[in-house]
């Protein structure tokens, strides 16, 4: 139920992102989703990839600061209100979302949402109780 996300520290310098994607490409790693949090001086690139540990060592070899973070993947219907329903559940349970990002899968008419919360187990339990689909690693990678 837990998805492994890679968080990479990236300085705001031209070419840094390309170095990351290039390192992953060379190790034949597929990026399934990504998001960037940026400030004036640096950003944090968050990645969901098909082989998290291999990707982590590939990036570390290139001198990047990388860490793995446990996140939750949620599947919602790709229609207005699909995501709103899932977030209402968390709001009602008083669970704060630290950050989230989404990607859609054309084939299944489903949107995948990656959520980072304080307590993964509590969030998963709450969402499942209310019938929200939690994705396993296999479904995402």
């Amino acid at each position: 139920m837990i998805i492994k996300q890679l968080s990479v520290f990236v300085e705001n310098q031209p070419g840094r992102l390309a170095e990351i994607t290039d390192a992953l490409y060379k190790k034949d790693i597929d990026i399934r989703a990504l998001s960037i949090a940026d400030t004036t001086n640096f950003g944090i690139l968050r990645l969901i990839v098909n082989h998290p540990s291999r990707a982590e060592s590939a990036l570390k070899e290139q001198g990047f600061t990388v860490s793995q973070t446990d996140v939750i993947g949620v599947g919602v219907e790709d229609r207005p209100g699909g995501l709103a329903a899932a977030l209402e559940v968390l709001r009602d349970a008083n669970i704060a979302v630290e950050y989230m990002y989404a990607f859609v899968s054309k084939a299944e008419k489903t949107a995948f949402v990656i959520l980072r919360v304080e307590d993964n187990d509590a969030a998963i339990r709450t969402l499942q109780e209310k019938g929200v689909k939690i994705l396993s690693a296999n479904e995402i990678y």
Partner: protein
């Protein structure tokens, strides 16, 4: 058990000053009569030996610089003929031509006496085995502590450096009580003890006297934990004597200077002006009992602070702080003296190791700015921006309270700070001060 070796260590200040004045007057006459270099310096200043009547006249005397020793290489500043010199030592010469120092028999006796005081302050006595892992040779560390331990009547184990596993075997088999070496070697020994699967508590070792290189409070805690001992600092420099110029007592809050042999001053390194107690500046020593090489107001280039606050150990000798840096490294930012080593000690608190960092000093308008870039390491991994910003803020707060000026802190990726010969360049000063 005696707390100190010689009652002079606890003498009232007035008595000490009288002794210093008497010895200073004698030394000034000695160098004027026997060292052409000093005679020239004095003559140029229009200074006569009889102008120096007490320690209060010290500031009338000219400074001696390391360069003076180099210019008079090897024996030009010696104040006695060769037949009275019984020992030669030399500095490593890593920052230029090496400097040569000499000792009469009386100088060696004084040196042994002051290092013995350091060993007593660390709890040593004639009932101890003293394990000496400083290098023996031209370096003053090995023979310096050796003589002190001998004068104390302790059983000296002169192991010198190298073959660490054998050192630890000796420690176990011979029952070493006190270890003398550089702090970095002590740390390495601690690691080796662990690698060998030895519980340090099973060793008889109970104290260490460490010096000859700068070390931090953090290193002290590490050594004390890894070797299960109490770690004492000892300070010295070969030009003045060698190890034992000052030494730490059980209070571990600074080193007592052997004031019956050396007079210490703190000066402003730029103006040469004498600074009061409690102010950081360059440490200057005048030898007042040395015969072979009595240096007058020698500029150590070490930055420290003096305090005569009463010490719980009972010693009245003035205390100096651990050197906070070297004048060669000092930056003046917004009128405040800043040393890279201070930044280092702050960063150490955050990651346990010293990360690579760089100080970037610039001037915006009329105001100096300080930016500190710190390379992230595996101990600093975060997936959220606010956590990185929080860490930057924590470092900034700690830097401000240590340096006394504000700094901007940026965490950067590993290996992004430019290195020359494997070592990161610590300071970039972009200010144009013409």
């Amino acid at each position: 058990m005696p707390q100190y070796r010689d009652p002079i260590e606890c003498a009232p200040l007035g008595e000490l000053r009288a002794l210093q004045s008497y010895r200073l007057i004698k030394t000034v006459r000695h160098v004027y009569e026997n060292v052409p270099f000093y005679r020239d310096r004095f003559d140029k200043l229009g200074l006569k030996p009889e102008d120096i009547r007490s320690v209060d006249d010290l500031s009338k005397l000219p400074f001696t610089y390391k360069q003076d020793l180099r210019d008079n290489y090897p024996y030009g500043l010696f104040a006695v003929p060769q037949d009275q010199v019984v020992r030669i030592h030399a500095s490593s010469g890593t920052t230029g031509k090496q400097t040569v120092v000499g000792y009469t028999q009386n100088d060696l006796d004084v040196w042994a006496e002051i290092t013995a005081r350091a060993l007593v302050a660390a709890g040593g006595s004639k009932n101890d085995f003293v394990h000496i892992s400083y290098g023996y040779g031209l370096f003053t560390g090995g023979l310096g502590l050796h003589q002190g331990a001998t004068a104390l009547g302790a059983s000296v184990i002169p192991v010198s450096t190298g073959n660490t596993k054998r050192q630890i075997q000796i420690m176990q088999d011979f029952g070493s009580d006190i270890l003398c070496c550089t702090p970095s070697y002590a740390l390495y020994m601690g690691e080796t003890v662990r690698e060998m699967g030895i519980d340090p508590k099973t060793l008889k070792l109970r104290a260490g006297v460490f010096g000859a290189e700068p070390w931090t409070e953090h290193m002290r805690q590490e050594i004390e934990r890894m070797l299960a001992i109490k770690a004492y600092d000892i300070y010295g420099l070969s030009e003045i004597m060698g190890p034992g110029v000052s030494y730490e007592c059980p209070e571990q809050s600074g080193m007592h200077i052997n004031e019956d042999h050396f007079i210490a001053e703190i000066i402003d390194p730029d103006t040469g002006e004498v600074l009061p107690e409690g102010v950081m500046g360059e440490l200057v020593f005048t030898c007042i009992t040395k015969e072979a090489l009595p240096l007058i107001r020698y500029r150590t280039r070490d930055i420290a602070m003096l305090t005569r606050k009463p010490c719980s150990c009972g010693r009245t000798f003035i205390k100096m702080t651990k050197p906070a840096g070297r004048t060669d490294d000092m930056l003046i930012i917004r009128g405040v003296n800043v040393f890279p080593s201070q930044v280092e000690s702050v960063l150490l608190q955050f990651s346990g190791t010293t990360p690579n960092y760089q100080l970037i000093v610039d001037r915006v308008g009329a105001l100096d700015t300080l930016e500190v870039q710190v390379e992230m390491d595996e101990h600093m991994t975060f997936d959220a921006v606010r956590l990185i910003e929080k860490r930057e803020k924590e470092i900034r707060g700690a830097l401000e309270s240590t340096l006394g000026i504000a700094a901007v802190v940026h965490l950067v990726s590993p290996k992004t700070i430019a290195r020359s010969e494997g070592k990161a360049k610590r300071v970039i000063d972009k200010r144009c001060l013409e």
